[in-house]
């Protein structure tokens, strides 16, 4: 790559860069050769960075007004909503920001699944991503506990009790997590501490995630290895920066819609009732982004096995690069995988839906079938598909299908000449 030869133009720049090569890094990031065919599904990395920064900034400001104490937490949140200048705005951005963060991360993950971005040589990027996703879930869960409403309290009780399923040491671990014999003040203060810490861990992992990405470079919709820099690439700045920026703007419109017009639609009314250890709400539901896993937990009639199934559903993603045996990355050239991909999308959406419904009757049956299919997809279908599937011919470069076999040859040529 050319960054190693980079020399700043100014004398001061050279002096600084010789001592700390920050400008070389900045140059690498702006010149970074990017596949020219990246579509809008590739803009969610930038959107996710925006989400993380938003959560950190709004979180820091909320922490200036919030009181992590079982007797005062609920009131301090109401104080933020009613008394603190723009407190309502900051809290609604933070609360809905969590949902937006997960919306973006799910699109980002399913983008990866469609275009095979997790495959060699990008396994480490993928695994770092799964760790980030796990930390996001931990942060979101602990954040949801902080307002100390009924859903906070009982959500915390149910989730921490998952650990009691561990044989022998389970009860001890739960007591240790609680710092008592039930979810109480010690639990709240440690959750607040960890909720504050995790975003910075995520930030560090994001740096590694991007670093690992910059070693092989971006995957692309065609899913082939490309020469960099070449006719197949464009520099990150301004091409990708502008595209990411535009997508971010569109995303912010959706974000603002929730914040200003439906700030509580993704939450649960029970959380505006202060925590009461004597009464469990009639229907405990986690936040929407955890529902598919909640459905898997409930679909298994055994406590330990339910917890194992739920955790496996997430951790199975970490070994996905080795479960998918196909050498072809992009689903564009995998006619069978493409169909199974959409079945998986539907399966996860169905799991999410039944996760919000009571675990009985038809819902339970659907949850069980969908859970079984989820594991079937990763453990049986993907490994076999790699050997059985007849894939379509893959182009040698990104430019080839545009100038070559495309039916709209003339328009493709036109486009090409306009760019050059």
């Amino acid at each position: 790559m050319s960054d190693h030869d980079y020399r700043p133009k100014s004398k001061v720049g050279q002096w600084f860069n010789d001592r700390l090569p920050l400008l070389t890094l900045a140059n690498h990031l702006t010149d970074y050769p990017t596949p020219k065919n990246l579509n809008y599904w590739w803009t969610f990395g930038g959107i996710l960075t925006f989400c993380l920064i938003t959560q950190i900034v709004t979180g820091l400001t909320l922490a200036m007004h919030y009181i992590a104490h079982a007797d005062m937490a609920f009131e301090s949140v109401e104080h933020i909503m009613r008394d603190v200048n723009y407190g309502w705005l900051i809290r609604y951005i933070h609360a809905n920001g969590a949902s937006m963060f997960f919306l973006a991360v799910y699109i980002h993950i399913f983008r990866s699944l469609f275009y095979g971005s997790y495959k060699s040589p990008r396994e480490i990027i993928w695994i770092l991503g799964i760790i980030i996703y796990l930390l996001m879930m931990a942060a979101a869960f602990m954040g949801y506990v902080l307002p100390w409403g009924q859903m906070s309290f009982w959500g915390a009780t149910v989730i921490t009790n998952l650990f009691s399923a561990i044989p022998l040491v389970g009860e001890g671990i739960v007591t240790w997590l609680w710092g008592g014999y039930s979810v109480d003040n010690p639990t709240l203060t440690r959750f607040f501490t960890l909720h504050y810490l995790i975003p910075f861990l995520i930030l560090g992992l994001v740096v590694l995630h991007i670093w690992a990405l910059h070693v092989p470079g971006n995957n692309n919709p065609v899913g082939i290895d490309i020469k960099k820099p070449s006719k197949d690439t464009v520099p990150f700045h301004p091409y990708i920066v502008i595209k990411d920026g535009f997508a971010l703007l569109m995303f912010m419109i959706v974000f603002a819609f929730f914040v200003f017009y439906a700030p509580n639609i993704l939450g649960h009314a029970d959380n505006y009732i202060e925590a009461n250890p004597m009464v469990t709400p009639a229907h405990i539901v986690p936040e929407w982004y955890l529902l598919p896993f909640y459905a898997i937990l409930r679909s298994v009639p055994d406590k330990l096995l339910g917890v194992v199934a739920m955790l496996s559903a997430i951790l199975i993603l970490a070994v996905l690069p080795w479960l998918d045996t196909s050498k072809i990355r992009s689903a564009v050239f995998r006619p069978l995988y493409k169909q199974f991909y959409w079945i998986l999308v539907a399966d996860v959406l169905i799991l999410g839906y039944v996760g919000a419904m009571p675990a009985e009757g038809l819902y339970l049956l659907i949850a069980r079938v969908a859970t079984a299919y989820y594991f079937l997809h990763f453990l049986v279908i993907l490994p076999i598909l790699g050997f059985k599937e007849k894939t379509l011919p893959v182009p040698l470069s990104i430019t080839e299908p545009v100038l070559g076999g495309s039916p709209n040859l003339a328009s493709a040529r036109n486009k090409e000449s306009k760019i050059e």
């Binding site: 009982w154 009780t157 149910v158 921490t160 009790n161 998952l162 009691s164 007591t175 240790w176 997590l177 609680w178 710092g179 008592g180 014999y181 039930s182 979810v183 109480d184 010690p186 440690r190 250890p277 004597m278 009464v279 469990t280 709400p281 009639a282 229907h283 405990i284 409930r298 009639p301 055994d302 406590k303 330990l304 339910g306 009571p358 675990a359 009985e360």
Partner: protein, 169 residues
Amino acid sequence: MSEKKTKRRDFLFTATTAVGAVGAAAVVWPMVDQMNPDASVKALASTEVDVSSLTPGNTLTVLWRGKPVFIRRRTKEEIDEARSVKMDELIHPEKDEDRAKNPEWLVMLGVCTHLGCVPLNDKGDYNGWFCPCHGSHYDTSGRIRKGPAPLNMEVPKYEFVNANTIKIG
């Protein structure tokens, strides 16, 4: 290279690592243990409840160690129902005689053994308790009969201080 020299190095290396590991563990343990229940939490270990107002067929719920405790004054039918169950029908076999020493009084943690919700009184298929979270049914002795919970509701340590007062813990 003589063998003796390498051995000396190996010894120093192993010894240093071992001492270092012990030292690290000695520092880590306080960091881990500080999260366990502290002295003030442990000090709230027992509570006394006046049960004189409780009539048969009713349940009193009190808070003990942050958890609800059900004190049920059972009716004759409930006792008979609980005592007539065969052990092999139970998921977690426990005799009602062992759970309620004084058959009229059932004292147990009102915490579902699945994931810790508070079950509802006089509900479910077995006329005992029903957990609304994930659908566990308990009988009139608080034993799990149907649903995902693995164990019966726990009977804490308790005693009658006098005819009207129960001390839990």
